[in-house]
């Protein structure tokens, strides 16, 4: 056991985390400079669409991180995590809608365009407060967090596990998708929320706003990563692993398994919600297709390909797969993307159960073993604990 603060620990004792922070730091400094300070005709200029594209990958990385926390460490395979992402996104979208004010097509100072179009006379009560950024931010966490709490409380208390749990999470996001598709729900129906103008008074189309959103996303990802590392390295994290490996054993040692699952599920939903909230202003739209069960399955694939149960693997997986997706879906292979993704998933599960980071780790261990063999003659001082 170490008493060092978590960030210091990650930077000094954990190679993968150190690399991750270095890459994030470089991105966070270089991308703004190359976008804002380097002239557009320079070969080094990073166009704004690229900034936004990387920003989008980072949001997905956060979402993958959220899933890895529950799946990789606690064995809860959620096939509905897109729902929490979308709820966070909608909360942010509602704020952005209210920011439009009377600049909509119909020029109505109170009602968003889609409500005018539906002939609504007044703002539904659940839209109240969303003109306030603080309130919207609260809802970004509260909406997914409450749903996760209710769902988790019911499911974990009745000891729904494994495939059954996965299926009901999938049903959850499907039901939400159907609900959000309906016009009379008051969330813009199948068009969703879009045509945003600005955020906190800053023009969403401005390069500086885009870059700021990018940097904020990077910081949030780093924060979420540190939080997840803290949780998984604490004794609570070892309880989670114990639940994953031997749930009933964990109960007999005296741990309330349902409380641990609920805790980590809610934390995960909050991270997913924040990711959704960061995604919407950068992409400029949120619609019910974000609730599509297929999206949630894709998240699982990112994590599986990156390497489950390592946290940084989830980040790497999300970015790699989405980079591949961008590349393929804009080329001649567009139609085959889902097949490619499916094949990738099957290949990793069969041949690389520990994902991309498993390959890197295998190589690292080989090197370490060689070193250990050489050092075997030197006696090692006894220390307390394996960590």
């Amino acid at each position: 056991m170490s008493r060092k603060p978590i960030l210091q620990l990650l930077l000094t004792n954990d190679k993968a985390s150190r690399w991750l922070f270095i890459v994030m730091g470089v991105l966070g400094v270089l991308v703004p400079i190359l976008n804002l300070a380097v002239p557009a005709d320079s070969a080094f200029h990073v166009p704004t669409y690229m900034v936004t594209l990387i920003g989008k990958y980072l949001c997905f990385a956060m979402l993958a991180l959220a899933l890895d926390l529950i799946w990789g460490y606690c064995g809860i395979l959620s096939l509905g995590h897109g729902a929490f992402f979308a709820l966070g996104g909608y909360a942010m979208g509602m704020y952005l809608m209210r920011q439009i004010g009377d600049r909509g097509v119909y020029g109505n100072p109170v009602l968003p365009d889609f409500m005018v179009f539906l002939n609504w006379q007044e703002l539904p009560w659940y839209w109240y407060g969303f003109d306030n950024f603080g309130f919207a931010l609260l809802m970004v966490f509260l909406a997914p967090g409450l749903l996760a709490f209710l769902f988790g409380w019911l499911a974990f208390r009745s000891r729904v596990t494994g495939v059954y749990l996965s299926i009901i999470t999938q049903a959850l996001t499907y039901a939400l998708m159907l609900a959000f598709f309906r016009n009379d729900m008051g969330f813009g129906g199948n068009n969703g929320l879009t045509d945003f103008k600005d955020i906190l008074g800053f023009d969403l189309q401005a390069d500086s706003t885009r870059v700021s959103l990018f940097v904020i996303t990077l910081l949030c990802l780093a924060g979420a990563y540190i939080l997840c590392q803290y949780i998984t390295r604490s004794k609570a994290g070892r309880v989670l692993i114990s639940i994953r490996d031997a749930e009933s054993r964990t109960r007999f040692i005296g741990y309330k398994v349902e409380h641990y699952k609920l805790f980590v599920f809610v934390v995960s939903s909050l991270i997913a919600g924040l990711a959704g909230a960061l995604y919407v202003p950068q992409i400029g739209i949120i619609n019910p297709s974000e609730f599509n069960p297929l999206n949630s399955i894709e998240i699982v694939i990112w994590v599986a390909i990156g390497g489950r149960g390592t946290l940084y693997g989830a980040i790497i997986g999300a970015i790699l797969v989405n980079y591949a997706k961008t590349t393929f879906t804009s080329g001649v292979f567009a139609e085959y993307w889902l097949f490619i993704l499916g094949a990738l998933f099957v290949i990793t599960t069969i041949y690389l159960p520990r994902g991309v980071v498993g390959i890197l780790d295998g190589y690292r261990q080989k090197v370490a073993r060689k070193k250990a063999d050489q050092a075997a003659a030197t006696p090692v001082p006894q220390t307390a604990g394996g960590k």
Binding site: A236, V239, A246, R251, I253, G254, Y260, G386
Partner: protein
Amino acid sequence: MVETKVQSILYLNGVTKSFDGFKAINNLSLDIRPGELRAIIGPNGAGKSTMMDIITGKTKPDEGEVKFRDVIDLTKHDEAEIANMGIGRKFQKPTVIESLSVWENLELALAGHRNVFQTLFFKLDKAQIERIEEILLLIGLQERRAEQARNLSHGQKQWLEIGMLIIQDPELLLVDEPAAGMTDYETMETAKLLKSISENHSVIVVEHDMDFIRALDTKVTVLHEGSVLAEGTLDVVSSNPRVIEVYLGR
């Protein structure tokens, strides 16, 4: 302390449990005194493990009383609550947490600190580190403390699980076939260990190994078809013709 007034640490009366009409436990009664060491034997399928499932909250009985420390009705509590009241269990199939190290397994089982917010901010203090060291020494796994539990031999897993049981510091220990898969030497060491534990705990041990039972030198209960067939010293029960017929004779 209240302990001195406790009549029975564990009291089972008329307990019955059927699985699809088959009575795995049939009108079973058992009375364990504080500080007692009780050995339980009986043929395969006699209901020994099921009895432990009922005591630890894994299985709810159809009828009958299950009382801890005279007054606590165990049928009304779940596994974690029962564990926290002071009933620890070692499973028939050794179950340690495979992907945690030996040290981490012991840390996990260490008494106290069971809720989420306690464990999130938990740091081992000096006394706790010493306690883990003590148990490591006792179960002979000092050298393998950093090893993942999955890399231990079968016997070592058994010992680790016993260590986890001891470090929980329960009042009552339920130990299901601790010697299975152990060498003769390890078996005798385990018997010695359990005997020393029973000096200040109540212990129920299930075992098939007769040398082990003999080494425990204590009161024996023979279970058969879900109820008690005989009870007494090993010599008394092993000369009982019914016991010889259903169990020992085979």
